[in-house]
């Protein structure tokens, strides 16, 4: 009842004062009527006594060599002044002291505790760890710290038999051979409410990823364990998030031993880990401050390190992609021009010995493409939405979601990754983690097909955009409306090749949305229905369509070159609406390219774009990328 304390400001000093209304209320609650004067006097006296008790209690705090005044201190002071002590506030944790907005009221939250539940709960820690003394030499001859202060051992003894057994069973099941058992174990891990005490152990087990980097299967299992823990609503991960993240990052970024063998599908693992990373971040990112920044930093570090193998780069790209288009925009995008040179060199090396590396390079290329594409789409979408209240044809939900995204700090997909990835991850994994749609896809010369296009990258994007719109239905028109010219190419391309393109479009559409979490853009039934299949092919184009696309794109290409230059520039410009000179710059950067188109397409069928051929391209690319960059 002493909770109704009103804070008043007096001079610079702050005092807690009990207003007389509170006194009256308290008196009333115990059935006494107080006159105004009595209440005032009482109030004043109560304030004084409270202050006195606080002052007296502070010495107990000082002698206990603490900084924080505890309830126990106050109780001691009260006891020594022969006053009744306060019971029921002995907990070490801070008491949530809440303000009530309406009436400047503050009160201690006093939740009801279900004693039965408490009594029957099995995870009550059995006492705490033994107090112990640990010695370490801090400074030798005053010359600096020799070894950091050791870590604090946790309460091993507090684990009950049952918990230990559970822990053994679970870890055995997850890391064992039986997939069914594993599934059960993961499910339980996901929903068990009493395993809080085991969390450090599981986290420790998971940190074992570093020792099994040769075994994709084990890595996968551990990642699933992470997922289960993250999804368990009863677990408070606290600072363990950091440890989990570092394990996941390991899977994403490290040149795993398993990736030495090209037959191992470590790509899928990386994709999965990336999704997991974004999931952890979205659900638990608030537990550790600065986590987002740290992740971005480490991804960037990997990306900018040319010594790292391509699979690490791939991981970095996928990771950025999973973290949302803003992450791509922030890290990948500015870095692309520099990176491109390296990648291009790899892709241009046709020697047999380089075949494998080159294949990896294609992977990276594809990942970048996907990431950049989504970046553009999201960017466009966000711009449009910012411009007009809501997209004409877009369903309400979509806009809502996007609006929300706009509000959220700086990260693109808020709601979607939360709900979707986990499902996707699970299904994907179960569907067949080892399947290698990859290998088939890599050779697909999707990029090579565009080699005759002067600005390869830009164009591939353009095509995808043009395909994108149809699915979204209204999406592209929305942004395009302000400038008619822009719209034309998009629609014209499909028109030209309507029949042929349609199939290809669907294929690519399936792909692009999936990866980007543009689900928002394509909330339509077909895509949802296709989830299963989409997931299997994870990041890149599924094998089947691959062939189809090869067929189709060349055809599409022919019409494009003709109408091409203007149309293309238009599109890009349109995307970058609202930015003044940049759009133009983009155009200018394209003008020199047309000559390149003259190269015979056939010869480069299997090679990557233009880039390799011309001496200039590198610069040109950089140029175009800058132009892309600027609008952001």
């Amino acid at each position: 009842c002493q909770s109704i304390v009103k804070m008043t400001e007096r001079e610079e000093r702050r005092f807690a004062e009990v207003p007389r209304e509170s006194i009256k209320l308290m008196a009333e609650s115990s059935g006494v009527e107080l006159s105004e004067e009595v209440a005032a006097l009482l109030a004043e006296d109560v304030c004084y006594r409270l202050r006195e008790a606080t002052q007296n209690s502070s010495q107990f705090m000082r002698h206990a060599k603490r900084r924080k005044l505890s309830v126990e201190d106050l109780n001691r002071a009260l006891r020594w002044s022969n006053t009744e002590t306060i019971c029921g506030y002995g907990a070490q944790d801070a008491l949530p002291f809440r303000p009530l907005k309406e009436g400047e009221l503050f009160f201690v939250e006093d939740r009801e505790i279900n004693l039965v539940e408490l009594a029957l709960a099995t995870n009550i820690p059995k006492g705490c760890a033994e107090t112990m003394v640990r010695v370490h030499v801090s400074y030798l001859d005053g010359k600096g710290n020799l070894e950091p202060q050791g870590t604090v051992p946790t309460a091993v003894q507090s684990l009950s038999e049952d918990l230990l057994k559970y822990y053994q069973q679970i870890t055995r099941a997850i890391l064992g051979e039986d997939p069914h058992l594993m599934k059960v174990a993961l499910l339980d891990l996901q929903s068990n409410s009493k395993i809080a005490a085991l969390l450090p152990y599981f986290v420790y087990v998971i940190s074992g990823v570093k020792s099994v980097s040769h075994d994709l299967d084990q890595l996968n299992r551990l990642l699933h364990m992470v997922k289960s823990l993250v999804q368990n609503p009863y677990l408070y991960l606290g600072s363990y998030v950091r440890s989990l993240v570092s394990s996941v990052m390991y899977c994403i970024l490290e040149p795993l031993a398993a990736s030495i063998n090209p037959l191992n599908d470590h790509w899928t693992l990386r994709d999965y880990a990336a999704l997991l990373l974004s999931h952890i971040f979205w659900t638990h990112g608030d537990l550790v401050s600065g986590l987002y920044h740290q992740i971005l930093l480490s991804l960037q570090k990997v990306l900018s390190d040319p010594v790292r193998p391509l699979c690490s780069h791939y991981g970095a790209v996928v990771g950025l992609h999973a973290l949302g288009w803003k992450a791509v925009e922030r890290v990948l995008y500015p870095h692309l021009p520099a990176y491109w040179a390296n990648l291009q060199a790899v892709l241009d090396d046709y020697s047999v010995s380089n075949a494998q590396v080159k294949a990896d390079g294609h992977k990276v290329y594809g990942a970048i493409l996907v990431a950049v594409e989504r970046l553009l789409k999201m960017k466009a979408l966000s711009l449009t939405l910012a411009a007009e209240g809501s997209g004409a044809g877009l369903p309400g939900t979509t806009t809502g979601a996007v609006g929300f995204r706009e509000n959220s700090p700086g990260l693109s997909p808020p709601s979607e990754p939360l709900s979707e990835p986990p499902l996707g991850i699970a299904s994907h994994l179960q569907a067949g983690g080892a399947g290698c749609p990859w290998e088939e896809w890599t050779p697909v010369s999707l990029p090579a097909m565009y080699c005759e296009l002067y600005s390869f990258f830009g164009d591939s994007l353009a095509v995808r955009f043009s395909t994108g719109p149809p699915l979204g239905g209204a999406t592209p028109p929305g942004p395009c409306q302000p400038l008619e010219g822009r719209k034309e190419p998009a629609s014209s391309a499909p028109n030209l090749e309507n029949t042929r393109k349609m199939p290809q479009l669907t294929a690519s559409m399936n792909i692009s949305p999936r990866q980007d979490g543009s689900p928002r853009m394509e909330p339509q039934p077909p895509s949802l229905a296709a989830t299963e299949t989409r997931k299997t092919c994870s990041v890149e184009v599924p094998p089947g369509p691959g062939l189809g696309t090869t067929d189709i794109f060349p055809k599409a290409r022919f019409p494009l070159p003709q109408a091409g230059p203007p149309a293309f520039s238009f599109i890009i410009g349109g995307r970058q609406m609202g930015r003044r000179c940049q759009g133009r710059r983009f155009q200018t950067s394209f003008t020199p390219t047309p000559p390149l188109t003259t190269h015979p397409p056939r010869a480069y069928a299997h090679k990557l774009p233009v880039i390799g051929r011309v001496s200039k391209p590198v610069r040109r690319w950089t140029c175009s990328h800058y132009s892309l960059h600027l609008p952001l």
């Binding site: 006195e52 206990a64 107090t131 801090s138 710290n145």
Partner: protein, 774 residues
């Protein structure tokens, strides 16, 4: 509530004990008694009826002689202190005794205290008037001493108080009644402003000195307003002038401003203290003359009265002090030190090292194995000889206070010490010590106190959950002595009997000692490592055996939380200080204190023995440090200058200097012989809980709540200071601001506040603290 009230309330009928204790000398042969703690009854004839509380094992027996202790020693306390307050209190005690027809005690007390007849008669005359008259007389004599020839005698302003039949709070009402005079409350602001304007207009050199008046005047005027129920006026007064006060009085102002009712005054101890003690100001004669002239010209009687009644102005001849000089010394609860207080001679030198002679060598032969024996003997003898040759002129008589005789084991330990010290590392600014940090992990219950044995083999921790834990800091495990029945079976003649009596089954790295019923705020090992003392919030000090790991004695007397305790460097004696504002000197075989050191105006937070065991130093929440003579209980040094409660004290190994640390994050260095502050070490940002000099005194280590250990060049700090009798006469010397030069190193721990520091015999620095995971 002051000490005397408590005593009075507690038990007024302890005549016999009282008489007995007045006579109790410090025991002449304590060494034997020490050994006899466990089984021997006391030999003092007068105490036969009450044995010390001896506990056979750890179970607590907290009932018993709770009331017997308190009255025992007041005469000792006051014995040699010719100070006015003490006389005042003495007179009060005498009166009280007389009232209760304890004539015998009265006689003894009077004899003890050497009270002159004049005062006696004065008290007799004023027997109807209670202490008001004593107060008046006191003030009178004060005045004459300060040579203020003023006509405004304080007696005239005092309203006589009728004798009250109930004794519940006589002191309080007497004390407060001094405020009952009725001035015009509305004029208070005018008075104060007038003085303020005057002080601001005087020459710069006087302004700083006279500004000291602001705070005590402000407080007294405010209290007077409150006492006379001018609540609103008091508030207005406070708001108007509280901003002018020095920042280091903030804490006190905080208390003051909460206090607006006469009723509240009664219960507030801090303010009673403020009232009972005269606030001491040190002002040069010139400045004082200025002030006096001003007040007389203006007929500002209100302020003049306050100055005469409640302030003590210590006038000195010479240059007025500068602001910084004043600031460095002020900040305490009751103003500065009076110079004459620190005039007493202090024997700060070390005692002569005992000659360890032939029996020692025999001992050595037995203990040590044959090899290397002759060599060791040689070196040892040399070192002994060189040390014992010169007798420190400043050292007290070897037998000034009786010290326990050395046992064989003590001699062995001395030899060990000698050997170790030959391997000691010579520290200096170029050669800093290594630091070992003992982190207490998982100390959820809260680590409140730590101590190491001198040889660094044991480590004790006091915890907020009332437990005391002892760890072995060496691989050797802690073992209990076998039970009595098992001991009977042992062959007592065998050579390894000492080993045989230990129960191997009980070997463990740490032992828990249960017995306290409140947080343990202080722990201290006996020098021989056989005992451990712990003081607790439950008001007791407990003595534990480290042989059986059980509680031997519970010393009761404080009755309020005991903040600290410390063993004498020679064992047997120990000192404790607590919330009851007194420090007590105990001997392990006495259940009552031998001395009560009263004088602090607030809790005694920290107690330490001087290396020669003849003195005890105490630090207090009243922000002062007092050095007490164990022999006669006198306060021989009184140091002010800290701006916060003092939480750590350390003597330099040569006994000449004292370092003190407080919540204000500063370490102050004091010259004990001259009674001067000689250094200020600034740098810590939080309370300093640990201070320790290296074995040779070259380095001072300080550990703080700010998670750092800092090393200071104490040699330089002491050498730079030119202290002679002349500077001592003025009572202050200019302090150089050279903290940064003196700071040799600062070392951070990982969120572990430093609770204790200890130098091993080879000068390795050990630090201890509880790791704080938050």
């Amino acid at each position: 509530m002051c000490l005397w009230c408590r005593i009075r309330q507690k038990n007024p009928k302890k005549k016999t004990y009282y008489a007995a204790h007045v006579m109790t000398p410090l025991l002449s042969a304590p060494g034997e008694k020490m050994a006899a703690v466990q089984d021997a009854p006391m030999e003092l004839d007068s105490e036969k009826e009450t044995k010390p509380e001896i506990l056979s094992d750890g179970t607590s027996n907290l009932s018993g002689n709770t009331a017997s202790g308190t009255l025992s020693s007041p005469p000792l306390t006051a014995g040699g202190a010719p100070k006015q307050e003490d006389q005042q209190t003495l007179i009060a005690v005498l009166q009280f005794l007389r009232r209760n027809k304890l004539t015998e005690s009265v006689d003894i007390l009077r004899r003890e205290a050497c009270l002159e007849d004049q005062e006696d008669s004065q008290t007799l005359d004023g027997s109807g008037g209670g202490k008001g008259d004593g107060d008046g007389g006191d003030a009178n004599s004060l005045l004459s001493r300060v040579s203020i020839a003023s006509a405004a005698a304080p007696q005239s302003t005092l309203t006589p108080i009728p004798v009250k039949s109930e004794y519940d709070q006589p002191d309080v009402s007497v004390v407060l009644s001094a405020y009952s005079q009725q001035g015009d409350p509305s004029l208070y602001q005018v008075y104060y402003t007038g003085l303020k304007n005057f002080i601001e207009s005087v020459l710069d050199c006087h302004r700083a000195e006279l500004s000291q008046l602001f705070y005590p005047l402000f407080v007294h005027m405010y209290l007077e307003l409150v006492y006379n129920n001018h609540e609103t006026k008091a508030k207005a007064f406070f708001e108007k002038f509280s901003g002018d006060q020095e920042c280091y009085y903030q804490d006190d102002l905080q208390i003051l401003c909460g206090l607006t009712k006469k009723e509240h005054l009664k219960g507030n101890e801090a303010l009673l203290d403020f009232r009972t003690s005269r606030f001491v100001l040190r002002i040069s004669r010139d400045s004082y003359q200025l002030l006096k002239r001003h007040l007389q010209e203006r007929h500002n009687n209100q302020i003049w009265n306050i100055i005469q009644e409640h302030l003590y102005i210590d006038i000195f001849d010479g240059m007025p002090r500068s602001k910084s000089q004043i600031d460095s010394m002020s900040g305490s609860f009751a103003g500065e030190t009076r110079r004459e207080v620190n005039k007493a001679k202090v024997f700060y030198g070390l005692l002569k090292e005992p000659e360890i002679e032939v029996p020692l060598d025999d001992e050595d032969d037995e203990a040590e194995n044959e090899e290397g024996k002759p060599k060791k003997k040689k070196t040892k003898k040399d070192s002994m000889g060189s040390k014992s040759k010169k007798q420190d002129p400043n050292a007290p008589q070897q037998n000034r206070i009786p010290l326990p005789e050395l046992k064989d084991s003590d001699k062995l330990d001395k030899i060990m010490y000698m050997k170790e010290s030959t391997k000691r590392i010579r520290l200096g600014p170029e050669n800093l010590p290594s630091i070992c940090f003992y982190s207490f992990l998982n100390a959820y219950q809260g680590l409140t106190a730590v101590d190491f044995t001198d040889d660094s083999s044991l480590l004790a921790g006091g915890f907020a959950d009332s437990t005391v834990r002892v760890w072995s800091a060496t691989p050797k495990k802690l073992r209990k002595v076998k039970s009595a029945a098992e001991l009977n079976l042992i062959d007592k003649e065998s050579d390894d009997v000492l080993e045989r009596i230990m129960d191997e089954k009980t070997a463990s790295e740490s032992k828990n000692l249960y017995g306290h019923s409140g947080p343990v705020y202080g722990v201290s090992f006996s020098p021989d490592r056989n005992y451990l003392l712990s003081s607790s919030e439950d008001g007791t000090v407990r003595l534990w055996s480290l042989q059986t790991f059980t509680c031997l004695v519970g010393y009761k007397g404080h009755n309020y939380p005991v903040w600290d305790t410390h063993f004498s460097p020679f064992g047997y004696y120990f000192v404790s200080g607590g919330h009851d504002r007194v420090a007590r000197l105990w001997a392990t075989d006495h259940y009552q204190p031998l001395r009560i050191f009263a004088g602090h105006l607030a809790d005694v937070t920290c107690t330490r023995f001087h290396p020669n065991s003849n003195y005890v130093v105490t630090g207090s929440t009243d922000r002062t440090i007092r050095l007490w003579d164990v022999l006669n209980g006198n306060c021989v040094r009184f140091f002010t200058g800290h701006k916060g409660p003092i939480h750590s004290l350390a003597f330099s190994p040569n006994g000449k200097f004292l370092a003190s640390g407080s919540t204000d994050g500063r370490v102050l260095l004091w010259d004990i012989g001259h009674g001067l502050m000689i250094g200020e070490l600034k740098g810590h940002t939080d309370t300093i809980y640990a201070l320790k000099f290296s074995r040779d005194g070259e380095i001072l280590a300080s550990g703080s709540m700010d998670n750092t250990v800092r090393l200071w060049d104490s040699m330089k700090a002491f050498d730079d200071m030119e202290t002679d009798d002349f500077t001592a006469a003025t009572g202050h010397i200019p302090l150089p601001d050279n903290s940064q030069e003196l700071l040799l190193g600062m070392y951070h721990s990982k969120s572990t506040p430093v609770t204790h520091l200890h130098f091993t015999r080879r000068n390795l620095l050990l630090a201890a603290g509880a790791y704080n995971s938050q």
